[in-house]
Symmetry: C2
Subunit: 340 residues, 2 copies
């Protein structure tokens, strides 16, 4: 049964011309001297037959496949990862490209295999995404392969896309300041001590730097800093519970991410403290849960989709080989009020 696909030869035959002529016309080559009549006949034939070029055959000659590779350490674990993918998918679609997605879980062997599989398919470029946002290991790529690093950096491939964490960190502080907070502000998730360590990702360091720079430019200091390594709700819960058990002057919390903030909500509720009347909270990421919380959590968003988008734009458009910073939008909900 299987109706055969229509090939360029079919189109050429129907137009009464050679495949060379058909190819040139369909590709809109400028210097061609083919008659208007030939153009019309080929275009009509292609339309009537529903001709679509075979990408593999074309790629064989041109080395272009309109396909890009997206290799990520994680794809399903965080909303961040899928946001990056979604953004990349959209931008790729707009540019008439498709994307091969691969997950490596950070395993070097799988990374190498992923690259090999992509190269076997002659992808036009590859995006390396990481959820850990640090100096990223990348297996050697053949000279000339385009690559952009998403949410991380790599010395060999300087084109990268990162969230503008510094600015974002500052924005969080500014939100609190705008509501009149000056005292009793605590930081949950980070501390000077932790910063000295290089374990944390580079982007987190920038976030903290932004926070501290805004604090000091307003002449403010934290009344407490709760350092935590893992940033899950339970850790936010514990840190906040500990904090409010120790002191009663806490008026505002800056949480390093929304999951910590979630835990903070729980600890506050158990202690009979209300958000935002008793304690204001501002946080980072704009996780799904930020919208689910009551009251809604005001947070500085990680611009997932915009980042994914920009990565493919840079890959395809050949943007400059530097780090590109994507603004982190403030998402205001209801977790900040003026201090009483």
């Amino acid at each position: 049964m299987a109706e055969k696909r229509v090939t360029l030869a079919d189109v050429a035959k129907r137009a009464g011309l050679s495949t060379s002529a058909a190819s040139m016309i369909l590709n809109g080559r400028p210097d061609t001297r083919l008659s208007q009549d030939a153009h019309d006949r080929v275009n009509a034939a292609a339309r009537e037959l529903g001709y679509r070029p075979n990408v593999a055959a074309r790629g064989l000659r041109t080395d272009k496949t309109a396909t890009i590779g997206f290799v990520s350490d994680l794809v399903a674990t965080t909303r961040f990862a899928s946001g990056l993918i979604k953004g990349a998918l959209e931008a790729a679609e707009e540019a008439g490209h498709v994307v091969l997605v691969m997950e490596t879980e950070g395993d070097t062997r799988r990374e190498e295999e992923a690259i090999a599989a992509l190269l076997d398919r002659q992808v036009d470029g590859v995006i390396f995404a990481t959820m850990r946002a640090r100096e990223l290991f990348i297996p050697e790529l053949p000279t000339g392969t385009h690559a952009v690093i998403l949410n991380g950096t790599n010395a060999l491939y300087p084109t990268s896309v990162l969230p503008a964490e510094d600015e974002g960190g500052r924005a969080a502080v500014e939100l609190l300041v705008a509501y009149g907070h000056r005292e009793g502000i605590a930081l949950i998730g980070q501390s000077d001590e932790a910063e000295r360590d290089t374990f944390r990702s580079a982007t987190v360091a920038a976030r903290v730097a932004g926070i501290r720079s805004a604090m000091s430019s307003h002449d403010l200091t934290f009344v407490a800093e709760e350092s935590i390594w893992l940033w899950e709700p339970e850790h936010g819960y514990e840190a906040t519970a500990r904090l409010i058990a120790e002191r009663d002057d806490i008026r505002a919390l800056i949480c390093m991410n929304d999951r910590l903030a979630f835990g903070a909500y729980q600890a506050l509720a158990e202690a009979g403290l209300r958000v935002p009347d008793d304690v204001s909270i501002v946080s980072f990421d704009n996780d799904e849960i930020a919208a689910y919380l009551r009251p809604g959590l005001t947070t500085v968003a990680l611009p997932h989709e915009a980042m994914g988008r920009r990565a493919v734009e840079l890959l395809l458009g050949g943007g400059s080989a530097v780090a590109h910073y994507i603004p982190m939008p403030v998402v205001e909900r209801a977790s900040i009020a003026a201090p009483r």
Copy 2:
């Protein structure tokens, strides 16, 4: 610079044989009469040169590309979607395939374009995933194209993968029963009235059917059913708040999904009711938030990854053309206790 890729011709030359011989040997064709010596020389040459076949060139002849298409209405919105993708990616990798991911947002035009783009690239098969889980529209595919429907059904393509919702629904009731609940059980999210409507997805209908069948087999009835169309936390909050304002005999809640349960937690907490001491809760999906809640939410999980996995196994292995049901694992946390 750009070092040229090693081709089969390079391997053949180094082995002192023809490309035909090299091809047959590397593909391990059984009927070949080539000498052991020839085998050794070709294999050695391939290894030494690091030869990898060009997939496009091979696909041109064989019509196999070791590539599968994954077209989904949504990719980033829910954890469910990315779980399906992750499962598919893993199974594909194990089978030596790669996957082209496309998002359509349910738009017919984009679906058609996605299919066309996949066909242009000669994919070996296509997985159609939907987050809405209903009869799925699928643009016409050339005869012979393999397809499996993930989380939905389609009359033309009977091979599909669905969660075993019926069984899952029953499991939720059994959990409550096992703890001794017999009275004051309410259902949040669904009602007889809503079921009559066909708007809801087929899988939800099965979930409800399972719940009702288990209830009646234990001679139990719901003391209340709160019908809701949208299943976000706020709706769960409102429904639960309404319910406990009206009556004080509620001892257990079956929520149609975790987000509703999240809302229920909030309403209960505001009313000074404790989970699970005052009210037990069981729910569905095993969303991220189920683990974040305090106490942890006991829920019947949607088996995302297993479903994605199975879909590619069926696609590649040619499983039988029927609906395949994947068990929904019970994830016990701490939201159920014996009634007081």
